[in-house]
Symmetry: C2
Subunit: 200 residues, 2 copies
């Protein structure tokens, strides 16, 4: 049975947790994932190393959590996309929000830093996929399956391919800064993807 | 007027040029772009630094050339995609060839190394776009325009978006190793892109 904590202990824990996640996010943006150490996170957060290791088993775990904690609602466990019954409108809402997030340096810098390591580190790439991408991808697929059920998406569509079409051009433009990342682009990705996969 | 060279001088120059490009490609794979030096390229190629500076103005220029020289025909200036009159068949030929290239470590390793730097270095990203991506993108657009003329592609299609749909999912799978990069995937990208942009 979990030990009961006094309200002030809980508040103090929550403050430490937030300080650690903020420090991890700032440091991965500043020095990159490879050079980041648990010691540096502890020092910036003003906690002991042991406090970090009590909650997270590894550097990867605390960095992934620090980035996940940026996404609203991610802490509640279940991630869900809006489902108003209108797939096109819902996808445009989600992709416009993604475009807005990537315009925010505080959001995009740590994920960009992580991506530079992922490309040259297959193990980190696998961990990233398992801890961060897979849960998001599953949430997106739930929304697409609902659209398949309501006849708004080809029931035989390969949902991984649908998600690649929606997100890969956006990710590429963001990472390589090769073009405007705006709402018009978000909408165009949704429109073209639905033309390809709406079914007949 | 260019000074005429004896056949043996030309052969020697060609040998040096090939040795420099090979060394640049190997070294960028091994140490990454940031840590690569002209001195190291010269040492591995067995030439003087001045020989490199005689032909290339900068590290970026020799590295880009070393990667471009991997692509058959790139030395001849004009890059062209096959045009048999059948857009679907031609795009599948090209994307299958791209998939095969990315399966070859000698080809993909230097480009992967360059990509890790591009993500965190906006200036290098711009140089990469100008020297390497823009000429390829223009060649691909010429093939797409020919398809627009023959009624196989929507005449109003945004060709940059068409290319993003064809290539971004492929690039993402390659860089993040998130799925199989095979002929079936290449064909699926072409099929879905044409459904989105074939027009009515």
């Amino acid at each position: 049975m979990a030990q009961e904590k006094s309200p002030s202990t809980t508040r103090r824990s929550e403050r430490s947790r937030t300080a650690i996640l903020t420090a991890a996010r700032e440091l991965v943006s500043e020095v990159g994932y490879a050079k980041l150490t648990i010691e540096a996170i502890a020092a910036r957060a003003g906690v002991g190393k042991q406090t970090i290791y009590r909650w997270w088993p590894s550097k990867g775990a605390v960095v992934f959590d620090s980035i996940l904690s940026l996404s609203e609602g991610a802490d509640d466990g279940e991630i869900a996309l809006p489902d108003t019954g209108d797939l096109e409108a819902d996808l445009k809402t989600v992709l416009r929000a993604t475009v807005a997030e990537f315009a925010d340096p505080g959001f995009e810098a740590p994920i960009r830093a992580l991506h530079t390591e992922i490309i040259s580190d297959p193990e980190l790439a696998a961990a990233y996929r398992e801890k961060m991408e897979a849960p998001m991808r599953e949430a997106k697929k739930r929304r697409l399956r609902s659209a398949q059920d309501s006849g708004q998406l080809d029931p035989n569509a390969d949902l991984d391919l649908v998600l690649d079409f929606l997100y890969a051009p956006l990710t590429q433009r963001w990472l390589t800064r090769s073009g405007a990342l705006d709402e018009a682009f978000a909408d165009a990705l949704v429109d073209a993807t639905l033309r390809a996969f709406r079914g007949s």
